[in-house]
């Protein structure tokens, strides 16, 4: 059987107009794309799971494109990103780690060779499990204004033999970011950190 069987794709968008305090004067957008896949390794221990990592490259790219589209379609508008995985109970935490390479490289490529490591979380969970996906600036992990996270999940999934893979993108800093630190305009080393 094929290693990739997508059962469901969910796109979530948030538009944040206000926080506490004065009106910010702009809208912060955050989008997540979640794919529910059959876990070909559920229910048994499989030593070599690397073939699926390779097979995930195409769906990863498709999900990254959907995420950019959900934010309005302009890759240049994307300022922050993150990724994550929820493994159904028939699987193993390590199956979630299959997402690091295909999920990360798909986003970095589409966003103009973004420099920063893509932050991530993963867990084993039941149907409806929620995941907090960390977010950082796409070119410099230490940009303080863009540290954030988005809570995501798919009602009813993952079932025991499923995996949920997640990509998240945002259009900017937290509303009323005011705790200083490195600003996007000060990125100078271009090592992915500063």
């Amino acid at each position: 059987m094929s290693l990739i069987e997508i059962r469901r794709i969910v796109t979530l968008t948030e538009e944040i107009m206000r926080e506490t305090g004065p009106a910010p004067g702009h809208v912060l957008k955050r989008a997540a794309v979640l794919a529910v896949l059959t876990n070909p390794y559920a229910g048994r221990y499989e030593a070599d799971i690397l073939p699926m990592m390779e097979a995930l490259k195409a769906p990863g790219l498709e999900m990254a494109k959907r995420c950019i589209a959900a934010l309005g379609g302009d890759a240049k508008a994307v300022a922050g990103y993150g990724k994550g995985a929820i493994v159904g109970e028939g699987g193993e935490l390590e199956h979630g780690a299959l997402w690091h390479v295909p999920g990360g490289y798909a986003m970095r490529g589409l966003l103009g060779d973004a420099k920063a490591i893509v932050p991530s979380t993963k867990k084993v969970g039941g149907p409806g499990a929620r995941l907090d996906v960390p977010i950082t600036h796409i070119n410099a992990s230490y940009v303080r204004s863009h540290f954030d996270a988005m809570e995501v999940g798919v009602p009813g999934h993952p079932r025991a033999d499923e995996l949920v893979f997640v990509l998240v993108m945002t259009t900017g800093a937290r509303i009323h970011e005011r705790v200083g630190g490195l600003k996007p305009s000060e990125i100078s080393v271009w090592d992915g950190q500063r």
Binding site: A97, K123, P134, G192
Partner: protein, 194 residues
């Protein structure tokens, strides 16, 4: 101490078997949470320095609690992460003020070293809200076997005027990690990345 701490919780996860395979030695992860009063609950404050100073105190305190719970020396720690849940009387930026400006230095001091970015997550939440604390290797962010997360939750917090602050420390990577990438014995440990 500047922080008004209502309670501290410490949890240790020890994974011995995964998918029927024995994990040897078991992987271990500690999460320490402090429930603190939010000095800015219910109002908009421009200057969040008080929270930043609380972040310094908690960085030291919670890291030490994790090391104690694991029963390890600082140099035996391998990965770390941090997170905050802000009760509904506060603001997302309050989490940022604790986590980002100055918390890293005392965490790294308690671990003796740790040049990598400390991965983080934040959210608003009611009583019993859980947060996924992202984990990464403390000496090199690209070590693939140590990308992980652990869920933190305090059953009776955060109340509206409280913040839950969590730090997670491990002495190991994922159980049965087998996806290649940078290995921990290959760490150069100079730039925080590799």
């Amino acid at each position: 101490m500047k922080a008004s701490i209502r309670k501290i919780t410490v949890q240790v996860e020890e994974t011995r078997v995964e998918m029927g395979e024995v994990v040897s030695p078991p992987t271990r992860c500690a999460v320490a949470c402090a429930v603190i009063a939010n000095p800015f609950a219910g109002r908009y404050a421009e200057d969040l320095t008080d929270l930043t100073e609380i972040g310094v105190e908690l960085g030291d305190l919670l890291t030490r609690r994790c090391l104690e719970a694991l029963g390890i020396r600082p140099e035996q720690a391998e990965s770390f992460g941090k997170a905050a849940i802000v009760g509904d009387g506060g603001e997302r930026e309050h989490a940022a003020a604790i986590l980002h400006p100055r918390m890293g230095a005392p965490v790294r001091a308690a671990l003796i070293r740790g040049p990598a970015l400390i991965p983080s997550a934040k959210k608003m939440g009611g009583i019993g809200t859980a947060i996924d604390v992202p984990l990464g290797h403390k000496d090199a962010a690209f070590v693939r076997s140590h990308f992980d997360a652990v869920e933190a939750r305090v059953s009776d917090a955060p109340r509206s005027g409280e913040i839950v602050v969590a730090i997670a420390i491990t002495d190991s990577g994922r159980p049965l990690a087998r996806l290649g990438g940078l290995q921990k014995h290959e760490i150069k440990g100079e730039d925080g990345l590799r």
